[in-house]
């Protein structure tokens, strides 16, 4: 057998011909070199594995499918709202000031244009609040494009779905054996026998796994944006791109978190199947159990009145209004008769109805407020689960989710006040009107005129407001990530490879 070193290249031979100078023969490897070598090695291993390609394909396919479905959802909502707008415009054409009292003035929450990034439940919550000014009519809160409520509501295929479900599963599949698998195969002992700090091995493994998830995720993000833009439902403006970039950033951060979690569990177990079992349990707890429990707990801690209780409260409001006016009211006459005594009965009846409507409106607002508080509480409780926390961050940053619903209700109520003021001024300009607002028969019959009524325009949250509202949850997730990274490092460096 040949055992001749003379064929080695000059730099290597010079080391080997160094007599007995072995002590200096193995130079210290630079940190970057080790991390880069481990990184390349791990990426190479992943590229040879079915798990990587399966996760990458699933992620890409889901994000592309999400782009198409969100475009369809966007178009359906936009069409539904356009129908309402057109019907409203037709109703206003030729209407009088008095008509404005009974017309339902719609406030529309526009479909979220970046629904492919994060839907935030926007497809499930009402987007139309129709408010007549008359106390005799009730407002209606509903969805513009009504769905069949008997159909099961599926989770929207947005980027957050990919992040919470696919990225987490992908990270667990890729990394569950990153440490214990090497221990089982024996390579970890050989790695630990090399003159390198253990953190460099972990850093290389972490970066490789993260890259393996980040690349298909970012590719899916770019392609889905292009699909949405080409379908005409998304303008690739600077602001939209920035919001999308924030959503992608949340995804990359989540991927890093899931990889760290998988590395930690792999460093705490002795074989890959145990590691995968633990990670599967954690996944079910984080993605299924905690959100479900948070909803149950929110219902318990922030209960809502039942329909029967609401009906009782409504009836009580009517009685209260009646009592306050000593049973007066509900005495309406034709204007030509009422004018005789200066509309005395009608003015009183209007005050009774307005009082009743105000009391009942307060009950409705209390109910809506309670629903919002319940939803916020459920979201806060669910934030114990990192995937839900990421969802919260992404929704806050992009200006969707519960905050958008709350903003819509606030703006819609403010719009009604502005509308009332406008109609009040139009009515006041007609000296012939009895000025009993807002009761159609006793208001100005003049046309609304060329100066149209104000139209509702939803003001989206600005990027600055989004970043500001997300600060606390970002801080919480940053702390969780740091803690996880420190734990993974500690577990890995103390791993018994012997």
């Amino acid at each position: 057998m040949v055992f001749q070193m003379s064929g080695l290249s000059a730099p290597v031979r010079s080391l080997r011909d160094d007599g007995r100078g072995f002590a200096s023969s193995v130079p210290e490897t630079r940190s970057g070199d080790v991390v880069a070598t481990v990184f390349r090695h791990e990426v190479g291993l992943a590229a040879r594995s079915f798990r990587f390609w399966a996760a990458a394909f699933l992620l890409l396919a889901l994000m592309l499918l999400g782009a198409v479905t969100s475009a369809a959802r966007h178009r359906r909502d936009a069409t539904g709202q356009a129908d309402i707008e057109q019907a409203y415009a037709r109703r206003l054409a030729g209407a009088t000031v008095a008509d404005a009292a009974e017309i339902s003035h719609p406030a529309l929450k526009p479909p979220w244009r970046l629904a492919l990034v994060v839907d935030g439940g926007q497809a499930a919550t009402p987007d139309t609040l129709s408010q007549p000014l008359s106390a005799l009519e009730e407002p209606a809160l509903r969805r513009a494009a009504e769905e069949n409520p008997r159909l099961p509501a599926g989770e929207p295929l947005d980027w957050l779905f990919g992040i919470r479900i696919v990225l987490s599963i992908g990270a667990f599949l890729l990394c569950h054996g990153a440490v214990c698998g090497e221990q089982r195969g024996g390579t970890l002992k050989l790695l630990f026998s090399l003159p390198i700090s253990h953190w460099k091995i972990l850093a290389g493994k972490f970066l490789a796994a993260w890259t393996c998830l980040a690349v298909p995720f970012l590719a899916g993000a770019v392609v889905s944006l292009l699909i949405a833009a080409s379908l005409g439902d998304l303008q690739l403006t600077g602001e939209n791109l920035l919001r999308a970039a924030l959503g992608a950033l949340a995804g990359l951060w989540a991927a890093a978190f899931f990889v760290l979690l998988a590395l930690l569990v792999s460093s705490l177990t002795r074989d890959p199947s145990s590691s995968l079992g633990v990670l599967a349990l954690l996944w079910v707890a984080a993605v299924v159990v905690v959100p479900a429990l948070s909803v149950l707990l929110a219902r318990r801690l922030q209960p809502l009145p039942t329909d029967a209780e609401i009906n009782q409260q409504m009836a009580a409001a009517r009685l209260t209004a009646g009592r306050e006016f000593a049973g007066e009211g509900e005495r309406w006459r034709q204007p030509r008769w009422a004018v005789v005594d200066g509309y005395a009965w009608e003015k009183l009846s209007a005050r009774v109805e307005i009082r009743r409507a105000a009391l009942q409106e307060e009950i409705r607002r209390q109910l809506l407020g309670g629903k919002m508080r319940q939803a916020f509480l459920a979201r806060t409780l669910a934030s114990l689960s990192p995937p839900s926390l990421v969802q919260d961050i992404a929704e806050r940053l992009t200006g969707t989710g519960l905050a958008r619903d709350q903003a819509f209700l606030d703006q819609a109520w403010a719009f009604r006040a502005a509308l009332e003021e406008r109609v009040r001024r139009l009515d006041a300009a007609d000296p012939a009107s009895p000025h009993i607002l807002f009761f159609r028969e006793y208001m100005s019959p003049r046309p609304l005129g060329p100066d149209p009524l104000p139209r509702f325009a939803f003001r989206e949250q600005t990027l600055g407001e989004g970043v500001s509202s997300a600060q606390l949850v970002i801080l919480a997730f940053a702390l969780e990530t740091l803690l996880l990274a420190a734990s993974a490092l500690l577990a890995f460096t103390r791993y018994n490879a012997g």
Binding site: G7, L8, S9, R20, G185, G186, K189, S193, P195, I201
Partner: protein, 240 residues
């Protein structure tokens, strides 16, 4: 030089795995550490690799204390592990390149790696084959290629002949002897006795964590090694 000074290890469960081991392997010397399973051989290896901390005593590689200066000690140490210890989906060449690069070995060309693989007796056509297609003998040769590429002065070989067929074992012995001739200090753990007489410059017997016997090459030549080993593993004799 590989040196153990009163090296002891007691595990948290109270088991004394190694009891005041003293040994010194000089450059150009092969020290065979013999003993049955559970005698403490793996503990010795783990202590020299810094994978576990000694409860007493010191493990030194060329004067570098493994416990206090593990990086320097590992820089001076190359290790051949027992069993299949490579990435089985990677080729022989890729495995060698990875462990050499990550271990801070000198920058080598493709020819350098191939030269080393040839030196350990691996056939040319196997260089790009996946390790999963290899038998234990070829894998052990790859392990020795990693050891060669690192070119460290102290070598730890853990059961190098375990599961290896006689022909491959003979080739491994030849490589190990050449490493000794190049001035390496080799600590070799063995369960089988068949290669001890040929390999060992000195040999020590471990039994339940204690070194119960030490022999030089000369002494080994005239000793009924098999009988001694059996007697010790049965636990019937005390240290001489």
């Amino acid at each position: 030089m590989i040196e153990a000074i009163d090296l002891s290890k007691r595990y948290p469960n109270g088991k004394l795995a190694l009891d005041a081991l003293n040994l010194r392997v000089e450059p150009g010397e092969i020290y065979c550490l013999l003993g049955p399973k559970g005698a403490g051989k793996t503990t010795v290896i783990n202590l020299f690799l810094g994978l576990t901390e000694p409860t007493a005593g010191r493990a030194l590689i060329n004067g570098a204390d493994v416990a206090t200066d593990p990086l320097q000690a590992r820089r001076l140490l190359a290790f051949l592990a027992e069993g299949t210890i490579f990435y089985d989906r990677l080729s022989v060449r890729k495995n060698l390149e990875f462990f050499t690069r990550v271990g801070g070995g000198p920058r080598m060309t493709r020819d350098d790696y191939e030269m080393i693989l040839r030196e350990v007796g691996l056939p040319e056509e196997s260089f790009d084959q996946k390790v999963m297609d290899f038998g234990p003998g070829a894998i052990r040769k790859l392990g020795l290629a990693v050891v060669l590429a690192k070119d460290a002065p102290a070598l730890l070989l853990d059961e190098p002949f375990s599961g290896v067929d006689p022909k491959a074992a003979a080739e491994l012995v030849e490589i190990i002897e050449r490493l000794r001739d190049r001035g390496k200090a080799l600590l070799v753990t063995l369960q089988e006795l068949i290669w001890v007489r040929q390999l060992a410059d000195r040999a020590g017997f471990l039994q339940e964590g204690r070194q119960v016997l030490a022999r030089t090459r000369e002494e080994l030549r005239y000793e009924d090694l098999e009988r001694l080993y059996l007697d010790y593993t049965r636990g019937g004799l005390i240290a001489r």
